[in-house]
């Protein structure tokens, strides 16, 4: 998957978790929690969805890397570069 595809996948996960959010204006360098109404339970769902869809295990110590879209894509790029989109 390319970084663009990874970004789309994260957007898909976010829209699944928070269907009432308008994600079209999401800024990649701003933390998710400053733009989207996500509490810690919802945040964990991003991790869980990655595991469900791609069998990716994000260790707890790495959660801070998933703070914004940019940092998430950067973090996932090496892990997902050889994967195919599933959804």
């Amino acid at each position: 998957m390319t970084p663009v595809e990874i970004r789309e996948e994260i957007l898909d996960i976010l829209s699944d978790i928070a269907p009432d959010e308008d994600l079209s204006a999401l800024q990649d360098d701003v933390a998710f929690r400053d733009q989207v109404e996500l509490d810690s339970m919802d945040f964990l769902d991003i991790v869980m969805e990655l595991r469900k869809r791609y069998r990716i295990q994000v260790p707890e110590a790495d959660y801070p890397q998933l703070a914004s879209m940019r940092s998430t894509v950067t973090y996932l790029e090496p892990i997902m570069k050889d994967m195919q989109r599933v959804s």
Partner: protein
Amino acid sequence: MYDTIIIGAGLSGLAAGIRLAHYDKRVCILERHTTIGGLNSFYRQRGRDFDVGLHAVTNYAPQGSRRGPLARLLRQLRFRWEDFALVPQAGSSVAFPGVTLRFNNDFRLFEAEVAAQFPDQKDNLRKLVAQLIDYDDLDGSLFQRSTRALLAESITDPLLREMILCPVMWYGNARERDMDFGQFCIMFRSIFLEGFARPLAGVRLILRNLVRRFRSLGGELRLRSGVRRIQIEDGRAVGVELDNGEQLEARHVLSSAGIVETMRMSGERKELSPEPGQMSFIESIAVLDRLPRELGHHQTIVFFNDSETFHWERPQDEICDARSGVICSPNNFLYDGDVLPDGILRVTLMADYDRWCQLSADEYRLAKLHWFERTLASAARFVPDCRQHVIDMDMFTPRTIQRYTWHDNGAVYGAPEKRLDGRTKFANLFICGTDQGYVGIVGSLLSGILVANRHLLGDS
């Protein structure tokens, strides 16, 4: 071998089941009853639909709200707001002799009512609200402080204190007389700051959506499958034994059957078991020949008390206590043009489980008729008298509650000591629902979600 066996297909068990099934856990919900829903189920009788528990869904938030318990649970269960189809209340009140405080889903009405009737308490109410908005319900350390003591610090008028405690205790206090402050904060927010709503179709709509989702995710639901024993080996739950002797294995067990009941199923000695709750109810359901508003009754819920002191305890002198009660009309929600087929008034009183259980079959039938009359007579002091218009009735008693939920004492809100973190003394046996601490429809759904997230969705 299941990842998780869930005991009970009430709201908390179903919510936990959806979370686990969504994340591909092999999960089975075991329910002793022939139907789902537990305390908040529904049934059909003489051609009419009845709800078991539902007065109103608390914690209302309008469509588009992104904060608060309702928004949170919809996100976690991947439901759309429309799936619960909540219709807001028309307006409710707390009625004491000579003073009535009205409230609705806009807190400003309650503030204005307090300002008008208790002018010197207006700022004190603000103080109280600031304090309970700040209360973090996951911080268990402060949970058990005395509400009566803390409330007296902000609200200095004793009558107003009683009037605030009345609805809050009625809708979620497992403890007699006083209330845990944490529980008070949660319930005050859910009633006064968020508010009441109801789906036109009643609780069945919510339950159907839950069970359909659970099944579509591959979850297994087995009705008529009571658990009689939780098998413990070396301090761990390894599975359960059903009433018919069948044995099932699981890596985790999550129980919504109550803490006392769950510990008993695990073979815990009685002396070591926590105290069961004491608060049980009767509820009289009067079907009327016309709509309540045609009798001049427009309110959704009226919490009444006939003296300046509110007594929240198991009735002492009689089998029920007619001094205080809750009057609910499911007709009085702001349905947009839709109407329910019948006018209905539901009235709840506190009841003594033991004395209801001691009655013979004949005495039981008579007591139901007697208390139906007494209940409506008591209610008629606070809302228009509907006794001439009753065309059908039903009543449930502490015995009914016990039969539907298997909760000791028919205790509606479970045991007084809550297990906020969902843990028990056994490492892989957890508690959700009423005895975890969150009660009500929204509360029990959140409870299932929370405990599933915290303990059952990890890597183990």
